[in-house]
């Protein structure tokens, strides 16, 4: 019986290993930490597998990866979580930003990676789930346990911040 459970768990959840590792890496920003977090998350997921009845194994697993990452960061006193998450950040006016400037810098992989890495964690996670994991708003809401409206407003703010950073870097280099 236990062997069957293990087999069906592996079948449902192991295909999402890359997604799990990608999210854990973007949250912890470190190779070894990401590996430890993912392994821990899989063990937790196996324990809770009896409670999983849905069809969306990826959202379910990523929610566990996310929680495990946050717990891990708390235990290791990551400065990341020391500020309060504020969804009412002041809007950055960006109507006069020139899309060509972005295009120019868009090609520079290293700068984009660094800019994304330096975003606050609550912005980083929604962008990673949306742009790299290509999840729908609903899937992101289910993974992050946030209301749909919050997912959308965080995504909008995350994008504005990222544009801002990339543009100012581009301007600095001119």
């Amino acid at each position: 019986m236990e062997q069957n459970r293990l087999a069906s768990f592996e079948e449902a959840v192991l295909p999402h290993l890359d997604a799990a590792y990608n999210l854990a890496h973007w949250l912890t920003r470190n190779d070894t930490d990401a590996e430890d977090v993912v392994q821990e998350a899989y063990l937790r997921a196996f324990k809770f597998f009896g409670g999983f009845h849905g069809s969306d194994g990826r959202s379910w697993l990523l929610a566990i990866v996310r929680n495990t990452s946050y717990t891990w960061m708390q235990q290791n006193r990551s400065p990341e979580l020391s500020f309060a998450i504020d969804d009412e950040l002041p809007e950055i006016e960006s109507q006069d930003l020139n899309p060509e400037a972005l295009l120019l810098k868009g090609a520079d992989t290293q700068l984009v990676r660094q800019a994304l890495e330096e975003l606050p964690i609550e912005f980083r996670e929604v962008l990673v789930l949306r742009e790299l994991e290509e999840m729908s708003y609903r899937e992101i809401a289910s993974t992050t346990e946030l209301p749909l409206g919050t997912v959308m407003s965080r995504l909008a703010r995350a994008r504005k911040r990222l544009q801002q950073v990339l543009i100012s870097q581009a301007q600095a280099e001119v």
């Binding site: 590996e35 994304l116 990222l162």
Partner: protein, 255 residues
């Protein structure tokens, strides 16, 4: 659509989360408005910058092996633990069954009064006799209409038994008759459940107040007995206890 509305929808449009009608409106607006068209172009530029920068971290092969190994270990250690839990669960269920059995055996003891015991015997005999083919009779008045059955008792008994049809709850009224039980004339109502007959005996009680229902089993018949509204009620049938309870509840609710 004005600029503010469009600005709010551009992100959802770019993410493919907008329904068709909304998408068409956003597109129409952007054809006329350069500011919103720029906002959309920033959105797509950023999206492609993120997609083209190979930002995705792929899990190293050794991680999958590591996870498979740790899962197998976990599954093995859980196996005996689960078996242990199962043994306890089985023991608990067995104990619960034993207690239930003891309760059922003990329960008729609570039905102590010898008057009630005699009456129960009398009711079983009456119920059986009423269903014997030929000779005896099940109904004096055969009707499923409560307005026919209830007046029929007028002048035959010195009380007005509550008569109600429960056809909508699958206990249709079948008829009524008179019986001589417990040294008096009692009203008897007959109900049906599928092929089962239920005899409901009703007569006034000399004690005020009501009493909780008592269930009794005799010779394979289920009986439920209670007092309420100044009446004695005895329901008997070869129906299962659960459905007879359901019937008793219906009768109690109509009062």
């Amino acid at each position: 659509m004005n600029c503010q509305q469009a600005q709010e929808l551009i992100q959802s449009y770019g993410d493919g989360e907008l329904e068709l009608a909304g998408s068409l409106e956003v597109e129409r607006h952007m054809q006329e408005c350069q500011i919103c068209a720029n906002a959309y172009s920033r959105h797509t530029t950023l999206t492609s910058a993120l997609k083209n920068s190979s930002l995705y971290y792929t899990a190293p092969d050794k991680l999958e092996k590591r996870i498979r190994a740790s899962l197998r270990k976990e599954a093995k250690s859980e196996q005996p633990r689960r078996a242990f839990v199962w043994r306890w669960a089985t023991a608990t269920v067995a104990l619960a069954l034993l207690l239930m059995l003891a309760f059922l055996v003990w329960r008729p003891g609570s039905f102590r009064s010898s008057g009630d015991e005699l009456l129960a015997q009398e009711i079983v005999s009456n119920h059986v006799r009423s269903l014997l083919p030929g000779g005896s009779h099940l109904t004096d008045v055969l009707s499923s209409d409560q307005h026919t059955v209830k007046p029929w008792f007028d002048g035959k008994v010195d009380f007005a038994p509550p008569v109600r049809d429960f056809a909508s709850q699958d206990f249709p009224l079948y008829g009524g008759r008179l019986e001589y039980l417990n040294n008096r004339t009692v009203a008897t109502l007959i109900y049906k459940r599928r092929l089962h007959y239920i005899n409901l005996y009703v007569w006034p009680t000399d004690q005020a107040g009501s009493s909780a229902e008592t269930t009794v089993q005799r010779q394979g018949y289920n009986m439920i007995h209670w007092k309420s509204g100044g009446m004695n009620f005895w329901a008997i049938s070869d129906l299962n206890a659960v459905e007879l309870q359901e019937f008793a509840r219906l009768v109690q609710q109509q009062q």
